[in-house]
Each structure stands twice: as C-alpha cells, then as structure tokens.
C-alpha cells in the first residue's frame, strides 16, 4: 500500500518550488508518511533563507508593472502592500505553522487521511494544470530577456495574441529548452538557483535605486513626490480594473493563498521547531512582494516616461533600460530558476495520477503546454487575475484541513475520517471544494465580486460545507453502524 501511494506523494517532494535532496535542509522526500521526528526539526534561520530565496521570482517583474497599469496610487501600493504582506505573514504564522508543527505531516498525507486517495488524484490534476499556467508566465518573462538582443517587436498591454512570428519562435524555443532541462537536468539548475539567489535579491533592490534618478529623484525627499506624480498616478490603463488600496492589500495577502490558507506550506513548516517560525515568511514577503514589486513598478514608469505609447509589460526591455546587460541577465535567470521547479512539479503532479507514465516525458509535455500558453501575451497581461485564481482553486483544501484539525473533535466528529473507514473517496472534502468554487463563481457572476475579494469568503464557505456534510455523513454511517 505504501509503495502504491509513493508516486502520488511525489509532488510533496518539492518544497515551495524546489525539490529537496536527502539529508539537506528540509529533505521533504523523507517522512512522507510519518511525522517528522523532533530531532530532525530546523531552526528559524533555515526558514528565513528559504522564504527569502523563494519569493523573489520572475513573475515579480510582471506584477509590479501591472499594479501601475491598474492605476494604483502611491499610497495604495506602498501602504497596501505593507498591510497585505503583514496579513500574509500572520496567516502563515497563525494558520499554517501551528497545524504543521502539531501534526508534522505533509499536506498530501493529511489530505489523504481526511479525504482518501481519490481526493489526492483530483488535487494533483488541479495542481498540475495550474502549475503549467504559472510556468507559462515564467517562460514568457525569460523569453522577453531575448527580445532586446534579437530586436523582437514588443507586445502591447492590451495585446492578446503574439506580436510577431519571431516572438512565437523565441517563446517556444525558451519554453522547450526549460522543459528539456527540467526533465533531464533538474538538479544542475536547482543548484544554480541557489547560487543566483543572493545576487537576484540584491540586483532587484539595485534596479529600483538605479531607475530613480531618471524619474527625477535627486534626494530622498523627492521620492514621495515622484512616486505619487510619476510612478503610481492612480489612473488605470484601458482594459484594466481600477485598483484601490483594498485590491493591493488583498492581492498581496492572498497572492500566496495556496501556500498559507491553502496549507501548501505544511510540507516545510512540519520541520519547524516552533509555530512562531511562520514569521520567517516576512523575509520572502517584504523582499519579494514589497521591494521587488515596487522596483518593477518603478522600471515600468521609466519605460512609460521614455515613451508613453509603449505600455507593454515586457520585463526584458524594461530591465535593460535601467541596468543594461545585468537587467537582461536578471530577467532571464529569475524566470528560468523559478520555471524549472514549477515545470518539474507539474510533471510530478501528472505522473502521480498515472505512476506508469515516464516522468521525463510527462515533464516535457507539461513544459510544452506551458510554452504554448506563454506565447499569448494576453495571458501574462492578466497575471494578477491568474495568480488569484491559482490560490482560489487550491484554497478549499486548506479550509478542509483547518476544519478537520481544529473543529471535528469539539463538534463531536472524527478527524482523518477516510483513514479510519478505509474509503477511497470520503465525499465531504470534494464536496466542499466544488461547492465553494461554485459559490465564488456565483458571487463573481451575479454580484460582481471581483476575484481579488473572493478568497476569504470561498475559504469560509469551504470550511462550512465540509463541517456540515461531515456531520450528515458521519451521523448516517454511525446510525448504519449501530443498526447492524
């Protein structure tokens, strides 16, 4: 039984984007089906390093400019991100880490105990598709680095389709290369990502600094005036939703919802000695989702100042304008090092559903699908919505784990019900998943609630549906049990 399930747990071998090797750091391929022993837990420093390196990714170069395109004001972005990132850190610290430290199990194993192996198959399929979409954005970001030396025409902000045949060729070639490397030479790139991580973090900060003089910042006192009047002017580009403080706050809070509210990071925090190590997520949030997003927004403002008609969010040329070759290298590497584990993860997720499929082939196919999606700039120009949908689709399972951990016993029900009954599918978790997503869709279609504000109600609905359906189902089975 254990060996049958091992491939299905394969995706849990990857922790926050990078797979782990035995004996190193958070060796997530160990203790897949048992709690992490106390003597294998890690100190705070390990978590700070992991979060700081994982949340400075290629997609930050899309998100920062898209905030500008969505017409945020300087106050909205500078304060909204500060508050939203703080709420995200609290979510990791108060929701994810305590369950992880108490149970010390991966999300996959907990879900299997709650909902049965069938639920893991559905989860892996959803994860695989969503990872292909996120990898597509990474491939697009890296490919734009080649647009400058190859003089490819840039897509505009409202373009849905590629701007030229050459663009299609470059994006597909980059995607195929990444897919091939992810399938065949994953470890080398993962090692390279570790080497590049400190340089990437520093270069992101430096890019913001070097772009400021061009916008007219000559002293620290000039910053606020330029931020308010030149960078974040508070007027959305055509075709983009007008963002407010609340949009920015909710996006930075729920941008990583799959990992905190969705409990994806149970896999890493099961190694934490104390639940308060969830605070280490602040390193990733404030470096990647504050400084890097602000830097990317400033770079986009430089581009618009040089040519107001050039509204395309194309990270390669944008970084080249500010930092020359270093900017191009940053864009390429930040996209590549994050696309690599995501394509690999997508492959593992699909392979987990059908363990007989070749891992190399499945990974390559996942990369090929991501490359095809990456060809359409319209997809990356809507990346804010794509990122929210990623969290939205996966978060209901986090609500199920939360409710199972805290509320089942006080409400007189049994936790880990599928494990106790040996069911292949225990229906309350998939029911909670499906109904919460339908409710979110209804809120969006009939009441006009934007995707940025759906995560929290969706999570609460999922938890509620899980509890109510568990109550009905567990009561019925106990009645049936007492009757026989």
């Amino acid at each position: 039984m254990v060996s049958d399930r091992e491939p299905q747990q394969a995706a849990s071998k990857l922790v926050c984007g990078k797979p782990e090797k035995e004996g190193g750091g958070f060796a997530a391929n160990e203790y897949e089906r048992q709690p992490v022993p106390e003597d294998k837990t890690k100190g705070l420093k390990s978590f700070v390093g992991l979060f700081a390196s994982e949340h400075v990714a290629g997609t930050e170069l899309l998100i920062g400019p898209l905030f500008v395109a969505a017409g945020v004001s300087a106050f909205d972005v500078l304060v909204g991100l500060l508050v939203g990132d703080f709420l995200a850190v609290l979510s990791w610290t108060l929701l994810t880490a305590p369950i992880a430290v108490r149970k010390r199990l991966t999300l996959y194993y907990q879900l299997e105990k709650i909902g049965g192996p069938g639920v893991i198959d559905i989860y892996n399929a959803a994860n695989g598709v969503l990872w292909c979409c996120i990898a597509a954005a990474m491939i697009y970001v890296s490919a734009t680095a080649l647009f400058v030396p190859l003089q490819i025409s840039m897509p505009k902000l409202d373009d849905l389709y590629p701007s030229s045949g050459a663009m299609v060729l470059i994006v597909v070639a980059v995607g195929a290369l990444f897919a091939l490397i992810a399938a065949k030479g994953y470890d080398a790139v993962a090692h390279f990502a570790n080497i590049a991580a400190p340089w990437m973090a520093v270069t992101f900060i430096v890019l913001g600094i070097v772009a400021l003089p061009e916008l007219g910042v000559r002293s620290p006192g000039d910053f606020w005036r330029v931020a308010d009047e030149v960078v974040w002017r508070g007027k959305a580009q055509q075709g983009h939703v007008q963002f407010t403080f609340w949009h920015v706050m909710c996006f930075s809070w729920f941008g990583n919802m799959a990992w905190h509210f969705g409990m994806g990071d149970l896999s890493i925090f099961r190694y934490a000695r104390k639940a308060r190590y969830g605070l280490a997520s602040a390193a990733g949030m404030y470096l990647g989702h504050y400084i890097a997003w602000i830097t990317a927004g400033i770079l986009y403002a430089v581009q618009l100042q040089r040519d107001p008609a050039n509204t395309g969010v194309v990270p390669g040329p944008m970084a080249y304008t500010a930092a020359g070759m270093t900017g191009i290298v940053l864009v390429f590497i930040s996209g590549w090092t994050t696309a690599n584990p995501i394509i690999y993860r997508a492959g593992l997720a699909f392979q987990a559903i059908r363990p007989k499929w070749s891992r190399v082939r499945v990974t390559f196919v996942a990369g090929a699908v991501a490359s095809v999606v990456a060809v359409f700039p319209g997809f990356c120009n809507k990346f804010l919505s794509v990122a929210m949908l990623y969290g939205l689709v996966l978060m209901p399972m986090g609500a199920v784990i939360f409710a199972d951990h805290y509320l089942m016993k006080p409400l007189g029900m049994q936790e880990f019900y599928a494990e106790k009954t040996g069911a292949r599918i225990h229906w309350p978790p998939p029911l909670a998943w499906g109904l919460s997503l339908v409710a979110c869709l209804a809120l969006n279609v009939f009441l006009g609630v934007q995707e940025f504000f759906l995560c929290l109600p969706g999570w609460l609905i999922a938890g509620l549906v899980y509890l109510l359906s568990s109550k009905l189902l567990q009561q019925r089975s106990s009645l049936r049990g007492s009757g026989t």
Partner: protein, 57 residues
Amino acid sequence: MRYFLIAVSFLSLAILCVTPVLYATGIGSADLSQHGMNVGTLGWFAATPFWMRSSRA
C-alpha cells in the same frame, strides 16, 4: 583559495550595490553604474559556484 573566492563574491556584490547608489546620489554617472553592475554580476557568477555548496537542492 576558498576564502579568496568568497572575498571575490562579496566584493562583486559590493560593487553591484555601490555604483548604482553613487549614481542615485549624484556622485557617479549612469555609465559607471552600468559597468559596476556588469562587473559585479560577472564577479559573482565567476567566483560563487566554486565555494557555495548546494544547501537545499
């Protein structure tokens, strides 16, 4: 040798940081800033792989 390579890596990061800051404060030029960033990047990737072990992946 290991300490020398570590020194080269961190010196490279320092150059990468300082030259843009000099430009932003009006002391250096845009050209110097770009050269500094390129040199810092080259130095980092030339030296770091030889001393940094893969810690997590």
